[in-house]
Subunit: 719 residues, 2 copies
């Protein structure tokens, strides 16, 4: 027996059938166990355990002892019978008892042998701390893959190499070597931590301990030869002790697997907050040089996180802030915030924060305002409420204000700026007011922005009230958690369009062949004709009806406008002929040497220009993009990405995130564009299955007419 | 005698002649003393001093005593001889000794009488805590202005009303009533604090004390009947004990005065960091309802801060972070950062931060890289340097790395991520390595990102090394301080163009009259002619030369394109006549009822479109704006503002801050625009003195040709 027959994670699970846990085993391997053996070990063997607790191979023994680990500790040492006061074993085979977790802490040359022993002994999971593998060289990568194959064949889950291990705060299993952990063992909590970086995991542990944020489990996945970020995230998402999962990530190889893990978290209502680094050119370069991750395009991660309701933290502070709010109480039902401050200035500051983070601050009902105005005549009582200093003189005021805001304010949380009350003799007033409000209005979260002594902090925490030093950070955390909550509350993600396989066009690709692909997807293109002479173009124009546009067709001409190969608007056959002659060589020097494949005559279509593209990301597969068209908008990077395919509703939501949405929605005398039609095009393009020879297809511009007039792909490009 | 004859601030001062301190007194007033009496009082009288230390009027007496204030404390109480153990006086007149500072802590009805007494007694400065003045009603405003007049006439500087007073940490003068101050008196430092909000000032004091950030002075200015934010900022900027000034501001009435204070700070090399709230609609609304400030347009504050090298903090954290870095050591000479981390992941995080905040991370020289590679073969050694865990085993490594980065890295600071070292048994290694590097390379700031015990924090601080929990915040603070330093290092601000008075055009204003104003400023406009008939327009077009543009002129038609009142390009006289007829009523229904003032025929000018505008801000006066033209760019709010006038260099710098700068600079096949000409136009327009009838003038578009081709105002509008 090596894994739990009934672990904490083994309740009924609606998503079990679609997740990585039940993936098909490799042909020559046994079915893989869950990660219970890693996260909830009832016994830990330390292979290579040193008698010296200051050494990497001695520290885990000392930590497990010192922390009071409740399970069995089996030091394995080839030459000692006792290690740090514990009975030691010459080999794993000598233990003769079930071993859930083995720590392989031996010189590099002996690692493989130890892993074979783990397989023979039926160990559930093994951890390799050592570095010098895939992060260093190709030879290291080969050695690492060899270890992974051994583990897989032997049915052992493998954590590492190049990692800092794991810890389980409740069972006090600290299977790690960082000196940060030693002593001062924290109380267990409900925040699970997954980090690809070991030092970062240790730092988070220490910082959480200092700030009183309580963790449940933590794990560093290192080189991810077997167990990876997604595995751990999914296990923590299913874990009953864990309410929120925070993660540190540099990149991930298997996009689909990561998405499955996020979906499990969503299905279990567990907020996930991730600090994903490698956003900048230097960051990506730095990441490459110290890990073996294929990182994929950073902006695509934003799209993935958005789809699964994962909050991407920009900073460590933010990671902790959202975790603190999520860990201390229920998810807020919405994004409506009540604000009470003992300083009018802080009220302005927090109003700005709400605006920045798209948090609603509903006004109090008139009756409540009228009543409060009799109590604090000089103060602002709409929401934000400024209590002024009177709150210290009239001790019934703060409880009343909090009850009014919570009970009548129509808010999902109340953030209060209590300045230094939590370190002054007014602390009891603040604490009793807050805990009373929290108890009386359990659906409204109370958030305290105050300086606070550890005791005040602890008392508030026990009542489900987190404390923040900086009101901006409190508002930002509330906004993030409310956003996650809205995402989780969606009954289901919109049904997505069925994939439409596209045939790879024969020969070279130009605008005309690209548009043929679009028509296969049901996307409108203008009425058009390929002519071979100016005269034929003029005849085609007569047939199509004026005004028309004429363009020179060539697979070697991606930027036609810059090359003077587009003429519009043309109103007569004479204009068409003149334009054709002007655009073609020898009259147009920009086209010297460019193979001309015809003259495309098309009905002129007007509207607002969008750009819509589908491309293949190496990690996450097909990605759909929509942005405002035109070179300016493109340079301004005003675009939205999503995992393809998207339904029309999600496509519309993407369009609404554009900075230029105001233009599309009819601001400043602009006609309201047919966004329904635009979203339909985005959705249809997103459903295309790109054939192997194509890396992407782009509509630029999609001409969007006024509401009801549809959208039309005026130009297109395949890559 | 009521002010210092030789105060700390009375050294030679190159800027004395231009600042508010020497402003002309009101005609019926004595010359106003400096604020020495407020900030460095040698004696404090408390008018209305209560025997009860828990009351607002008793607390200052207790605090002054308890803190150990070194000066004279004079309680004034009409009915007691002793107050809280101190000899009390029946009236101010009974004191018979110089009184630098008087605190008026009496009921509202008695305030005026007390202020008169202060004038008679020759008090230097008086503080009024009480609220209920301009922040409440017009009657309150009148009462407040009355008090200000009394003080001014009597030569007494007045702080408040509706404020929380001031504190001087070195002399332990705590003339305030907030309970946050009481007990646990901090050591004096070099960070000066000015806050319009009293509660905020108290909160900052408490937070600084908790975090070990040491303040020099703090003041809350409240309603600013006399002493205002700019006065205090300027005094602190001249103060020798103060190295950096932090401020909290909601708005300011006198833009020119604030600018003078910023310039004094700049001239004295004192960094200024301000948290200016009231950015959002709700924030502005909230600010209005609790203070009496005329706030001005928020974006204009950004422009003002940018001109004077003032850093605008977005959050409290940021305010403190920049202060911490500035207070702990010298200004960095540039924005080049060395990064060393004990976690590769943190190196990626910090690389992202540097990119986000425009911080340079220069690579180490090859020789240094080669040497380090022999020491840590598995690690990244370019900068960022990832030490890996070896740093704990080889204790000579960290000192070597820091010395190499500091000595050979060509950096202005080294930010190290030391994870939990500061709370582990590796703390001495970290501290000794950092202090050695700081001592050996005094021009390179050392910044520690680590968890740290108070002792470690204190030891590092003493060596000029600040500690940050969050590496992102360390990088952000470094970026801010480096930016301030660059600004201070500029020998002088560019000479600005002399103002050019504009004559208000007679009658109604349309595009043609607006362009006439531009020509007065030396700004090019296209060759053009106002015609009254289509036929005259055609003749004008023949004279000008094709292609031309024809527009309908009307003072009532600000958006001509939307009204179909612009035709271009026109190549023949027939086209001109046809276009005129199409654009005019009755053929153009959009112009029904619009008074037509002519047909403007102009040579068609092509180029990149900018928008350039000059408008009057109620607080700061003339503001110049430049942005990318076209409706999309306008809606995207891609614009730069500056205080007018600006020289051509500053104008060019404004253009370079635009998101669309890449378009102008020739990205993606675009022609490099004539930015010199564009900057010249911005500078010329900025020099215009708007006549009283005009609130603004706008060029939209300014058509910028290719480099060398100049820029031309194609359309213009006066408001």
């Amino acid at each position: 027996m090596k894994v739990f027959s009934e672990g904490a994670n083994r309740g009924p699970d609606p998503t079990d059938d679609k997740t990585g846990n039940s993936r098909a085993p490799a042909s020559n391997a046994r079915a893989l166990p869950t990660l219970d053996a890693l996260f909830e070990p009832r016994s830990v063997a330390i292979i290579g355990a040193s008698a010296d607790p200051t050494r990497v191979s001695g520290r885990p023994v000392q930590m497990l002892k010192d922390a009071g680990y409740a399970g069995q500790i089996y030091p394995v040492n080839a030459s000692r019978d006792v290690v740090q006061g514990l009975k030691a074993y010459r080999s794993l085979g000598d233990i003769n008892a079930p071993i859930d977790l083995a720590l392989i802490s031996v010189p590099a040359a002996a690692v493989e042998q130890s892993l074979h022993e783990c397989c023979r002994a039926g160990v559930g999971a093994a951890i390799i701390f050592g570095s010098g593998f895939a992060e260093v060289s190709e030879a290291g990568r080969s050695a690492q893959e060899h270890l992974a194959r051994i583990a897989r064949a032997g049915g052992v889950r493998l954590l590492g190499p190049n990692c800092m291990g794991m810890f389980n705060v409740a069972s006090r299993a600290y299977v790690t070597f960082s000196t940060v952990f030693a002593s001062n063992w924290p109380e267990p909590g409900n925040v699970g931590l997954v980090s690809q970086s070991g030092a970062f995991a240790a730092f988070c542990f220490a910082r959480a301990r200092l700030e009183g944020l309580r963790l449940s489990y933590g794990v560093s996945t290192g080189n991810e030869a077997d167990i990876d970020f997604a595995d751990c995230l999914e296990w923590l998402a299913r874990n009953e002790r864990t309410r929120v999962v925070i993660g540190f990530m540099e990149g991930f190889r298997d996009g689909a697997k990561l998405c499955r893990a996020f979906e499990v978290a969503r299905a279990h209502g567990k907020p996930v907050v991730i600090l994903k680094v490698g956003r900048s050119p230097l960051g990506i370069e730095t990441a490459k040089s110290h890990t073996a991750q294929l990182s994929g395009e950073d902006q695509v991660y934003d799209a993935v996180f958005a789809r699964y309701g994962v909050h991407r933290a920009q900073t460590l502070d933010e990671l902790f802030d959202v975790a603190r709010l999520a860990a201390s109480g229920a998810m807020p039902a919405g994004k409506r915030l009540g604000i009470v401050t003992v300083s009018g200035g802080a009220g302005v500051l927090m109003s700005d924060s709400c605006w920045r983070h798209d948090v609603d601050v509903p006004s109090l009902p008139d009756t409540a305002i009228a009543r409060l105005r009799t109590r604090i005549p000089f103060a602002t009582v709409h929401n934000p409420i400024d209590t002024t200093g009177i709150v210290l003189d009239d001790r019934t005021l703060l409880p009343d204000l909090l009850a009014t805001l919570s009970g009548e304010g129509g808010v999902d949380a109340v953030a209060g700026f209590y300045a230094g009350m939590g370190v002054s003799d007014a602390a009891p007033l603040m604490v009793s007011s807050l805990t009373a409000a929290a108890a009386a209005y359990p659906k409204v979260r109370q958030i305290a922005c105050t300086l606070a002594t550890p005791e005040v902090r602890e008392t508030l925490w026990a009542a489900g009230i987190p404390v923040f030093d900086d009101p901006e950070r409190a508002v930002s955390a509330f906004a993030a958690l409310a956003r996650i909550g809205r995402h989780h509350a969606q009954a289901s993600i919109e049904a997505r369009p069925a994939p439409v396989p596209l045939a790879l066009p024969v020969g070279t690709h130009n605008e005309y062949t690209a548009k043929a692909l679009l028509r296969e997807l049901g996307i409108h293109t203008p009425q058009e004709h390929v002519a071979q002479t100016p005269q034929e173009a003029a005849r085609a124009a007569e047939a199509i009806g004026y005004p028309v546009v004429v363009k020179v067709l060539s697979h070697a001409l991606p930027h036609k406008t810059e090359a003077g190969a587009v003429a519009l608007p043309l109103h007569t056959s004479a204009e068409v002929i003149a334009a054709c002659e002007r655009m073609l060589p020898p009259n147009n020097p920009a086209l010297a040497g460019v193979p001309v494949e015809g003259l495309l005559v098309a009905r002129l279509v007007r509207g607002t220009e969008l750009i819509v593209g589908l491309h293949r990301d190496p990690v996450f597969g097909a990605i759909i993009m929509v942005g405002l068209g035109g070179i300016h908008a493109e340079l301004l990077q005003d675009r939205a990405l999503a995992l393809a395919p998207v339904g029309p509703q999600e496509a519309l939501a993407m369009i609404k995130t554009l900075k230029a949405y105001a233009v599309l929605a009819g601001a400043r005398g602009q006609v309201h564009a047919d966004l329904t039609a635009a979203a339909d095009v985005v959705s249809r393009l997103s459903a295309a299955l790109l054939p192997d020879g194509l890396s992407g297809i782009e509509i630029n511009p999609l001409m969007v007419g006024a509401a009801g007039d549809g959208a039309c792909a005026v130009d297109a490009l395949v890559r």
